[in-house]
């Protein structure tokens, strides 16, 4: 007897809607949930490897407690009771000595984080943070400083766009299924695509214009573009007059940054820059300048992203088909929202966050926090000691720079608990590993789905767990109970949680059965374009934001040339391919076959100078840190840079299929934990240099 269960993929943080067919107790088929028209039955390679992940024996199959030194790989199998007892005993000791504030928690954010935030709040700590410091923080803060809205305050209608401009946003490989389908439709409808990246990714091969920009000079290119657009009046004057504040100041600021100046800085010809500006002027308002996704890259990425956000305003591309639009929430459809699980939990006594967001770094969002500045607190014990760290499906040891330095900092912690479905490098260095069910084996809390037709979505358990694993909601409600905080998370079943979440809506849980999600609006909701609102103090798009300036963040920062690689060195660039994310799938039985080892991309002329031929093995080094890799010699990379895919070179021997294969990029990023953008908040992890040597 076959049945179909609608759920939400958990193979990566995009979390696409899926449909799973189950026969008896076996999952037999998975595809995209085609009730969602933008999704159809499509599913990416990672989603396709769902069943393979479930059956993979090289994953934690039961709770584990460390017996040897940290990272040594000596574990004992434990029951859930033993693991919970071990954690609560340690935690109680830490709390009695240092207070609940000494507990910190990080995860990958997203729509299911509400429960984990509630757990941290229930314990009495203000220190929840997510992964975003090495992802979209710069973009988010840039967006807030201009629109007063976070980076998710706008979505992009690629399908109907006339021109899509991507500064390194590798949309076909760091892929979201619905987004890339829209992008490809846009391309086949004849959209112009301008792709800017020192490396020609697969996205470059879909572009109508490709600029191999000098590494770290995006901001200069953007200044040159904006200079010309403003000077030649190639923008939407009506929109700017109505909504943008501070254009005269922008004009004055941009004076020195001519296209000719930009050419010298970036290597992109002034003529091409000017031609591009005229083209976008013809194409507007259906023009999308993507402000960046993962933009923890250079020391001025925040300012580059700000300039992109401003260009969208100049194009007048807001709230139009083919441009940017506001993702609408339940309120826009006249409904209440999902009630937050932490809503009725009293705020922790300690108001100051260990990572300093909102205090020593007043401009940074408290919601996502910043892990690398929480490390400052672990190191110094200030503003107070940090002693316990919960990690949920996050892998800081490879997501943040300099694994060795992070381990040294973590050694100051008295308890590290990692919950995950696979052996992440961070789990391997923890004291306790709690195996979460794979996503088809677990229910999650309901999520809000913003968009033109807002609604709610449900991840539903499709099959029984294959291992001795538990769903996250059960792990954290049980831990809260054992810590004497059960009154704040008093749920015995997922249905109780769902019911709590839906209490301010007219939606019933059975409403999700038909399609897997519930829409609150029949037709797309568009705002009146004459009455747009922004979250700034003036309600306008602010080119100069006084609030941020008062916090010490300059709005229009003069350009400084990046420190390029010293003679004989290269900037180390990294990225993804379409069939893995964040190093999570390198050991998947199916995907591991496709990944093998990563290659080092090096420019043809540079390789020749070093006596390196395509396919040769070379040594890559930064100080004493070294690795050996095979090369891909190509003109698809700028002469000043080398590139590798991220997530390789694991130090976890339990991942037998991927152990010893390839080289990790983050190990070369020495000193980058403390080298971060003081305006945007993210580490400058692409400002890292390596030497390459032929192996004879």
């Amino acid at each position: 007897m076959k049945k179909t269960v609608y759920s939400i993929c958990g193979m990566c943080a995009v979390r696409c809607p899926v449909s799973v067919t189950v026969e008896g107790d076996k999952p037999v088929w998975i595809e995209g949930n085609s009730n969602d028209g933008g999704m159809g039955k499509s599913l990416c390679a990672k989603g396709g490897a769902t069943f393979s992940q479930r059956l993979d024996s090289q994953r934690p199959t039961h709770p584990m407690i460390r017996t040897g030194e940290r990272g040594e790989g000596q574990w004992r199998q434990a029951t859930w009771d033993e693991a919970f007892d071990y954690i609560t005993e340690k935690l109680k000791g830490i709390i009695s000595k240092h207070g609940a504030r000494s507990i910190m928690f990080s995860d990958r954010g997203g729509p299911f984080a509400d429960l984990r935030k509630a757990f941290v709040k229930a314990l009495g700590s203000p220190n929840y943070m997510n992964h975003d410091c090495t992802c979209g923080r710069n973009v988010n803060h840039a967006s807030k400083s201009i629109y007063g809205l976070g980076r998710k305050g706008f979505a992009y209608d690629f399908k109907n766009a006339s021109h899509i401009v991507l500064f390194g946003r590798n949309i076909t490989e760091s892929l979201k299924v619905k987004e890339v389908k829209g992008f490809i439709k846009g391309v086949s409808n004849g959209a112009h695509v301008t792709y800017i990246d020192p490396r020609a990714s697969n996205t470059a091969s879909k572009a109508t214009r490709y600029w191999q920009v000098k590494p770290g000079t995006d901001y200069a290119l953007l200044l040159g573009i904006t200079h010309y657009i403003v000077k030649k009046n190639l923008y939407d004057k009506d929109f700017v007059k109505q909504y943008v504040d501070g254009l005269p100041k922008l004009k004055t600021f941009l004076k020195p940054y001519t296209p000719e100046w930009a050419e010298k800085e970036t290597g992109i010809s002034a003529e091409e820059i000017m031609a591009f500006c005229h083209e976008v002027n013809n194409d507007r308002p259906k023009v999308i300048f993507h402000p960046g996704w993962m933009l923890s890259r250079y020391s001025d990425s925040f300012y580059a992203s700000r300039m992109i956000h401003l260009l969208n305003a100049l194009m007048g591309s807001m709230e139009v088909p083919g441009g940017l639009f506001y993702p609408k929430g339940p309120g826009d459809a006249g409904s209440g929202g999902l009630k937050s699980l932490g809503a009725d939990i009293p705020a922790p006594e300690e108001k100051e966050r260990a990572d300093g967001c909102g205090s020593r770094y007043p401009q940074f969002d408290k919601g996502a926090g910043m892990l690398h500045t929480a490390y400052e607190a672990i190191e110094s014990g200030k503003p107070y000691p940090m002693k316990a760290y919960f990690i949920h499906r996050h892998n800081p040891l490879i997501a943040l720079p300099d694994t060795a330095e992070q381990k040294r900092i973590w050694d100051k912690l008295e308890l590290i608990v990692s919950t995950d479905v696979y052996f992440s490098e961070s789990s391997w260095y923890a004291d306790v590993i709690l195996p979460e069910n794979t996503y088809i084996e677990r229910d999650s809390i309901l999520r809000t789905e913003k968009g033109l037709k807002p609604g709610f979505g449900r991840r539903q358990k499709c099959v029984e767990p294959y291992n001795d694993s538990k769903p996250g909601w059960q792990i954290y409600t049980e831990l809260a109970k054992r810590m004497g905080k059960g009154e704040y998370l008093p749920y015995e079943s997922i249905e109780e949680i769902w019911k709590y979440q839906l209490q301010n809506t007219d939606v019933k849980i059975e409403d999700f059965d038909a399609k897997g999600f519930v829409k609150l609006a029949k037709d797309p909701i568009w705002y009146d374009r004459d009455k747009l609102k922004f979250g700034t103090e003036s309600g306008k798009i602010e080119i100069v934001n006084k609030k941020w300036e008062d916090m010490g963040v300059q709005s229009l920062k003069p350009y400084e040339s990046p420190q390029g690689p010293p003679e004989g060195s290269f900037s180390l660039l990294f990225g993804r391919c379409g069939y893995q994310t964040h190093g999570m799938h390198h050991n998947n039985p199916i995907i591991s076959e496709m990944l093998g080892s990563n290659k080092l991309w090096i420019n043809t002329a540079e390789a020749q100078k070093l006596g390196i031929k395509d396919g040769d093995e070379v040594e890559i080094a930064a100080g004493e840190t070294k690795g050996i890799m095979q090369t891909k010699v190509t003109n698809f990379i700028h002469p000043q840079a080398v590139f590798m895919l991220h997530g390789f070179g694991t130090d976890v021997p339990a991942r037998e299929r991927s152990f010893g294969k390839g080289v990790a990029d983050q190990i070369f990023m020495k000193g980058k934990l403390t080298d971060w953008d003081k305006a945007g908040g993210s580490p400058n992890i692409q400002g890292c240099f390596v030497t390459i040597k032929a192996l004879s």
Partner: protein
């Protein structure tokens, strides 16, 4: 040739290898074997980067070299629709089909010491469905159809393109 054909719109393909994974997940060809595979080709000499991914599975020939080469009758052509498939119980692992096929289609399954290959997910076709690779292609760049329809579809696409270019 079988009455069916899988065509690929290369311009829409992003090289995400979802087709390979969906095939492996459904058909379990074993380690190192791929019933369908995306072959990457690139040229860095032009003004714009060109990198294409070309879908290679099985053409299900009208007069298949592999079937002719098979000494045991394991490699067969299904009468009703011409799908070329392996009857595993008859395969002796001689590899003659691998040598014979001009496109390297038959795959070696190390765990069984036999050959296996793309059968267009004939169990799905018999249920009125499409092969796994086509059904779940990320960008819908793969199309499953009956050979006779392909020509008209392509001619229509070309005509649409002419209209597009007039805009």
């Amino acid at each position: 040739m079988s009455k069916y054909i899988v065509t690929q719109n290369v311009a829409d393909c992003i090289g995400c290898k979802a087709c390979e994974v969906h095939c492996k997940d459904k058909n379990d060809p074993g380690e190192g074997a791929f019933f369908c595979k995306m072959m990457e080709v690139e040229s860095d000499s032009g003004k714009l980067p060109s990198r294409d991914f070309v879908y290679m599975a099985c053409f299900h020939c009208e007069k298949p070299w592999c079937v002719d080469a098979c000494p045991t009758g394991a490699m067969q052509r299904r009468d009703k629709d011409g799908i070329v498939f392996v009857q595993e119980s008859l395969c002796v692992g001689c590899k003659a089909c691998i040598v014979a096929c001009p496109w390297g289609v038959p795959q070696w399954k190390a765990s069984t010491g036999k050959v296996d290959k793309c059968d267009l997910c004939k169990d799905r076709i018999d249920e009125g469905l499409e092969p796994a690779c086509v059904t779940k292609c990320t960008t819908n760049c793969l199309t499953f159809s009956v050979v006779g329809n392909v020509s008209d579809t392509r001619r229509q696409d070309f005509a649409e393109q002419l209209m597009q270019n007039r805009k």
